[in-house]
Amino acid sequence: MSLLQVQQLTIRFGGLTAVSQVTFDIAPGQLFGLIGPNGAGKTTCFNMITGVYKPTSGSIRFDGKAITGTPCNRIAGLGIARTFQNIRLFPALSVLENVVVGGFLRHKTTLTSSLAYLPSAIRETDAMKADAMKLLEVLDLQDVAHVRSADLPYGKQRRLEIARAMATQPKLLLLDEPAAGMNPNEKVDLMNAVKRLRDEHGKTVLVIEHDMRFVMNLCEQIFVLDHGEEIAQGPPEQIRNDPKVIAAYLGTPV
């Protein structure tokens, strides 16, 4: 059974059809790539899956439940976490605190005990900080745990976004251009990190990426979007040789 099932997904903004009739399935434990030229509608797909936009028509099922039109925070609670193309951390919070916010989904103590700073709230906050610290170690950010996240260099901010998303303990992780702006070495590190998230932590990953080498080496299944429509779907070897994909990226010979 598939973990995420997207069927006939369509969204229109006024007269513009940004995404049209998109259908794909992601199996548990799959590394799934979503590619396409700029403006193809990839991030819009992410926004529909995570509940930022409500699709005009079509359905999204996650883990057997229909989630079309469910509010953002509830979808996060069901087990879908994401990163953002244009990094969206909480700049004033420290690296550790950013990850703690990601873990707040599982927070149990009441508002009253937080306001009164009762032992239950203190204990839970300490436990959440300890959990967050462990996650920072996984992504090799433990040394900058108490730095304001706005002061981090770019590559570390990208990694912190992944750590924060991981803190929600998702089943499905959506990464929006995680390798953008990274140098070749950083990209290799990132690819290994993403593979580890799947192999060691059992996450299913849906990734948007422009870097073809990155996607081809990482993903097992790839979906190609152009002008909001599917032009190809399949394993990397097949995508690489698909004439429509080549045309979309390089143009047709004249």
């Binding site: 930022v52 509010p71 953002c72 990601g102 707040f104 989904l105 937080s114 709230a121 002061d151 803190a167």
Partner: protein, 405 residues
């Protein structure tokens, strides 16, 4: 180990409130005591608005409305039921505490109602709605004969309890600080920083915003109850738009999001106009200043602001050297002002204009605010809290670049 510590700190807090009452009672007359009480109320108002505005980032400028609800609601109850009820509950102070709770509840409900539009509106638009709410409420009250109408709600039983005023302020500070120390508080800041990212991380943005509005208004409502019983008479003008703006100014001047900043700015801004109101000449008569002196001082302040801004922007030195430079800039500005003063005195007629210094108080107030915002737009404390870690960090400040390298 937790409870003994907690009980001790509560005892110290209440002890401090009684100490304030005792010391102020010895030092001040009726007028001075009223200022100490008002300062305490403004601390509560500023810190509670800071929760909504600074910590959660919901730009509300109708805080006086919640203050008003607390005052009128409990004032009305006290006029009608104090005589019968106070004896039963165990004295006026207990009655006042009960009224604070009732006022807080009333304001909390209003906070919930005003919090609702904050789910759809952001920034300026939310500000307009909250401002409108405050004005609508004031005008409704102004037209209710049962509430005293435009004249005043009078004959509220006066229960003046200075320690209770400051106990509320301390409670408000403690609650906000507690919240910020827990994981829950971080989600409030996260909502301020980025709503979309907060929601994507599973934070219930709706709940956070409404909670901030409800908790913030509860404290304003309790403060209103204290005001009504301190003054014994409240008018709709007590809660006019300018009161909302003064509270907002306190939050912004202190540093949006900083509890310490709100407290310091609240005390400073509630005292400054009263100090200026009472300026007297050495012989005790009205203090007059000439138009030329006014102009000279305006030029001096202008020079000081320009110099300090230039130093803070273009020169990077450790704190101690920078403070030295600022002091030098102020001295320089005084000299420039003095020199320009000779020129100003030559302008015919200016030296002959006599202005009552007391009349200038709002102008001085405004100039002080504008100067602070020009020199330090992030507010006096920025987003910092008064703590040992922060003070230590100040002395050996590292630039962000060094941290990330």
């Amino acid at each position: 180990m937790f409870w003994p510590k907690r009980i001790a700190s509560i005892a110290i807090g209440i002890g401090a409130c009684f100490l304030i009452q005792a010391v102020a009672g010895k030092m001040f007359d009726f007028y001075g005591l009223r200022l100490v009480a008002l300062a305490g109320l403004y601390v509560t108002l500023a810190v509670s608005l800071n929760l909504i505005n600074g910590i959660t980032g919901q730009f509300s400028i109708g805080h006086a409305a919640f203050y008003q609800i607390g005052a009128y609601f409990t004032g009305y109850l006290s006029i009608h039921y104090f005589a019968a009820g106070a004896g039963k509950v165990g004295g006026p102070v207990v009655w006042l505490i009960a009224m604070m709770i009732v006022g807080a509840l009333g304001a909390t409900i209003a906070g919930f109602v005003v919090g609702l539009p904050s789910l759809r509106l952001r920034g300026d638009y939310l500000a307009i709605v909250t401002l409108g709410f405050g004005e609508i409420l004031r005008i409704i009250v102004q037209n209710q004969e049962a509430l005293g109408g435009a004249y005043a709600m009078k004959d509220i039983p006066t229960i003046q309890s200075l320690w209770l005023v400051w106990a509320l302020a301390f409670l408000c500070i403690a609650v906000c600080r507690n919240l910020l120390k827990t994981a829950r508080g971080l989600t409030f800041v996260a909502v301020r920083e980025d709503e979309v990212a907060s929601a994507a991380m599973g934070v219930d943005v709706t709940k956070v915003k409404i909670t901030a509005f409800m908790v913030g208004s509860a404290f304003a409502g309790a403060a209103g109850a204290l005001l009504a019983h301190y003054e014994g008479l409240i008018t709709p003008q007590t809660f006019a738009m300018d009161v909302s703006f003064i509270i907002l100014t306190m939050v912004v001047l202190g540093g949006t999001g900083s509890i310490t900043g709100s407290v310091v700015a609240a005390i400073f801004l509630s005292y400054l106009p009263e100090y200026l109101r009472n300026l007297k000449a050495p012989d005790g008569g009205t203090l007059y200043v000439t138009g030329a002196t006014c102009l000279q001082w305006m030029l001096t302040i202008f020079a000081a602001v320009v110099l300090i801004r230039w130093i803070s922007r273009s020169l990077q030195f450790p704190l101690v050297q920078r403070l030295g430079l600022y002091a030098a800039a102020v001295v320089g500005a005084l000299v420039i002002g003095k020199l320009l003063g000779f020129g100003v005195n030559l302008i015919s007629g200016l030296a002959a204009i006599q202005i009552d210094a007391g009349q200038l108080r709002m102008a001085i107030f405004a100039v002080a605010l504008i100067s602070v915002m020009l020199i330090r737009p992030q507010g006096i404390f920025a987003h910092h809290e008064l703590s040992l870690t922060w003070l230590r960090g100040l002395v050996s400040r590292k630039r962000p670049a060094e941290v990330s390298a």
